[in-house]
Symmetry: C2
């Protein structure tokens, strides 16, 4: 099996499976907030995990807030920044954000009358920073832009937006979900006020994640509870999930050195594709393990099915859009035409992938393309 849908979700890492093989049978289950020794031991494990995650992420221990995932983390920050509504009314948002952001923007527009303005984005998936910086930000309540796009892998100018936002004294929410675990990331050095990630994209248990907050004391929770996470996120913590997040973060830290190798393998794959193939966002820096390739003349879902018959799993866009046989929202925002848009497949490999995985994927893709063009499946 070659699993090339890492941007959608990562299978549990072998290290996480090994951890769970001994952890689950152990008689160490209780409420981490109870003061009996079982609870205390679990809490200590959770706090040790917090220290591990904080160290890998370049954050302070108290800046790590455990959540159920990046969507919850993002919704928490939006709620914190936008409600109750104050005097500023405009939100600048990139149109290629993850659905967790776009759906939230719909809500704040429709229910709270925020004026949500979308930044232009070019055909290769890069947002137009010059346009954003040319706007008057006196009335800007928030700017939102992801660090890297989940479909194209294109790295966005988030450092420039951060500096612009600082200059304009405007909150900036950078969705870091796609770069954490895929690129080096250091919260302190990032200068961001918030960062977030999902455990299921890191090879930890699903239903886990975190929010990093530069100034955690000021955060208003959206899930209320009995003082867990310093009062910032209610609900008994998913301590088992948290422990696997620590294992995943440690594993990622060890694999960081292989990123450059993955970059090279991805470039090899891209060079070996047929000359008709269009690598979306090719001219920009992209995530090491992500290629969005258009194969005009064939249907992306055809390629997906063809590869699946060889036990290779890819998608045509993000999971949220994958079940629509149409150009994805991200590509539509980029004004990619339907012929190209419906022909794309997203290849996103895990850091556990080997050189031969890349080579086999390349070969399978070439074979599928030849077959599909020959039978004029589209």
């Amino acid at each position: 099996m070659i699993y090339a849908d890492a941007n959608g979700s990562l299978p549990l890492l072998p290290e996480v499976k090994d951890y769970l093989a001994t952890r689950i049978p152990a008689p160490l289950y209780a409420n981490p907030n109870a003061i009996h020794s079982l609870g205390t031991k679990i809490k200590m494990g959770m706090e040790k995990s917090r220290k591990i995650a904080a160290d890998v992420l370049g954050a302070n221990f108290n800046q790590v807030i455990w959540t159920s995932g990046a969507s919850e983390s993002l919704s928490t920050v939006f709620h914190h920044l936008l409600l109750p509504k104050k005097n500023k009314n405009v939100i600048y948002c990139s149109p290629i954000e993850h659905a967790a952001v776009l759906a939230a923007m719909d809500y704040y527009r429709a229910t709270w009358d925020y004026d949500v303005r979308f930044m232009p984005v070019d055909l290769d998936g890069m947002i137009d920073f010059a346009w954003l910086s040319s706007q008057n930000h006196d009335n800007t309540a928030m700017i939102v832009c992801m660090a890297a796009n989940n479909e194209t892998g294109v790295i966005q100018p988030w450092q420039q937006i951060r500096d612009l936002a600082k200059k304009c004294v405007t909150p900036f929410v950078c969705d870091t979900t796609q770069i954490i675990g895929r690129l080096p990331f250091h919260f302190e050095e990032s200068g961001l006020d918030w960062a977030m990630a999902s455990g299921h994209k890191l090879g930890a248990l699903p239903g886990t994640g975190f929010l990093l907050a530069r100034d955690p004391g000021a955060l208003k929770p959206i899930i209320f509870g009995g003082g867990q996470e310093n009062g910032l996120r209610g609900g008994t913590q998913n301590y088992l999930g948290v422990e696997t997040l620590a294992v995943a973060m440690q594993t990622f830290a060890k694999k960081l050195a292989t990123l450059e190798q993955h970059n090279i393998w991805r470039q090899e794959l891209e060079s070996a594709l047929p000359k008709e193939a269009v690598i979306i966002g090719k001219k920009y820096p992209r995530l090491p393990c992500t290629t969005l390739v258009g194969l005009p003349g064939v249907h992306g879902q055809g390629v997906q099915i063809e590869l699946e018959s060889q036990d290779i799993f890819v998608t045509t866009s993000s999971a949220c859009s994958d079940n629509e046989p149409a150009t994805s929202k991200v590509l539509r925002a980029m004004k990619v035409d339907d012929v190209l848009g419906r022909s794309v497949v997203r290849l996103s490999l895990a850091l556990t992938a080997t050189h031969s995985d890349y080579q086999n994927l390349t070969q399978a893709l070439l074979t599928a393309y030849q077959k599909l063009t020959r039978i004029k499946a589209y």
Copy 2:
């Protein structure tokens, strides 16, 4: 080991551990929203789990929304009912609610200027329904009351409140977290608009739970995402946790017949306690496996530590209050005095507990009490 903190959190059920022993090594991990066959298989497992939970809970399939736990479920319902604020301004709330409710009420009072009024509650932990029904509800935005209290186990008059609320056309949120998995519960027959529970209180993986919604289509989410859970709860689902919830619900359904036995064992335990012991809420119907016992003259935390030395785990209140050596908020709301309040221990056994667990717990409690009164530890 005797684990008598089931109301705080339940260890993974043996059935759940068995399930995970074969599930975790299986190569079945992916985004359940992806359309490749891995994603589809996982989605099918999640939907099968939804059907199992719905059947056990007497709900329709589409009324089950997976969340990260009861705190999230409650926060979702409050957000849905209270924001944006409409013309009604009063919330009636019991003062013995779980911290997930009380902290939310603080927020809606302080931030949104709701007038939160607390119902009186008697010394045995029963809310005053006559008082609630005597109020004018023309301006009532919401009534909140738990089905059973987590510390005393006292079952509250939630059916009467439900009928009152229906008569007054006022939304009623009944926190069912403590009765689901501890008493028979049938959502359709309950007549409630909402119900919720946490997986970690049912022996499933932590970080799981659900919200039951009578009219799910109308619900506004608080966590936004890519259309997961019919657009009602964003974020890639904790599918592994969901599968264990189904195992736990099935196990509970099988154990329902043993509830009466547990009730008898608990009564045996209560009868065997020293004559000075005060069973809080004794005169009211209570949860089958919960006893809150005051042992005036000794300190509850002393009993807790003494029992722990015999590998028996109890708490002095809910986990959220357990680390304060003071009378819990719930008991203070009941106007229990400090001498009694600081002497209590909560015994809450799982449905996996045996008769000899009850007998051994009784004996250990008697021994601890004798020892502590003899050395005048308090």
